[in-house]
């Protein structure tokens, strides 16, 4: 009835994950890198929901709940760390945060 199958959903999820990964590799602003990390998490939840739907179980959907909870906690802690970093170094650009390199 519905020709959109599991393959298509997983392909969309993989593309979203790849875009997020590209952003993490490419961007220099810590905040935007963090947003791209969130995109990757969202991609994984999409794949979980698709697998759960096409297998007729609920476990994947429950896992999405846990992932959302942990993502919210992670964002709160991460942004607090970024603010603390900005207070100390007055920048959030990744190429200027290279103290461990030298």
């Amino acid at each position: 009835m519905n020709p959109i199958g599991l393959n298509t959903y997983v392909a969309v999820s993989a593309a979203l994950f790849a875009l997020g990964f590209l952003g993490v590799l490419l961007r220099k602003n810590t905040l935007v890198v963090y947003m791209c990390l969130e995109l990757m998490l969202i991609a994984s939840t999409l794949a979980l929901a698709a697998f759960s739907h096409f297998n007729g179980t609920l476990d994947g959907n429950v896992f999405v709940f846990f992932i959302l909870t942990i993502a919210a906690a992670e964002v709160a802690v991460g942004l607090a760390i970024i603010v603390a970093l900005f207070r100390k170094r007055h920048t959030v650009q990744l190429e200027e945060l290279n103290q461990l390199k030298h």
Partner: protein, 167 residues
């Protein structure tokens, strides 16, 4: 149904790409919201309307707002992107080619099995049943994790006075 799927998938991926390329962090956050709306639509198509609701509530409501708040607080200027070195470009091309080869090979050989079960839309009661029986321990652990995260954020954001001078 097909048209809705393609619309939401296009919305999600296009706005995700705009998150990656947009120079301003505020624009990136806004595109992130639109991308999340697309993912929520895909969740609705997957018969998980509750998840779509929770996603919009938690992400668009709380997480992106937090992002915008921090962007406003930090007041960062958009940085300049340096041009790539030749070695980086060559490495990226080789890596991308290997990845594309893997994707093509996967697409030609692997086929995920077709749905065997006629999926029914999960009800709120079914979620509650799962969360409070099978997944009771993880729910408790996640609640504790949220508490620890809250304490951690408070400790991280607080400015501590130097105590040594007093003693």
């Amino acid at each position: 149904m097909d048209l809705l799927f393609y619309t939401f998938a296009f919305l999600t991926l296009a706005c995700a790409a705009l998150v990656v390329v947009s120079k301003d962090a505020v624009n990136a956050a806004m595109f992130l919201i639109v991308s999340l709306v697309g993912v929520a639509g895909l969740f609705v198509l997957l018969d998980a309307a509750l998840l779509a609701f929770v996603l919009l509530l938690v992400y668009a409501g709380a997480v992106v707002t937090l992002f915008l708040f921090i962007v406003m607080l930090l007041d960062t200027t958009p940085g300049s992107i340096k041009p790539f070195k030749l070695a980086t470009i060559v490495a990226a091309l080789v890596g991308g080619a290997i990845l594309a080869l893997g994707c093509v090979s996967l697409y030609q050989r692997a086929v995920l099995p077709a749905p065997a079960v006629a999926a029914t839309a999960p009800t709120l009661k079914a979620y509650a049943q799962q969360l409070f029986t099978t997944y009771l321990l993880p729910v408790q652990v996640v609640g504790f994790l949220l508490l620890i995260a809250m304490l951690g954020v408070i400790v991280l954001s607080k400015k501590f006075e130097v105590k040594e001078e007093a003693s």
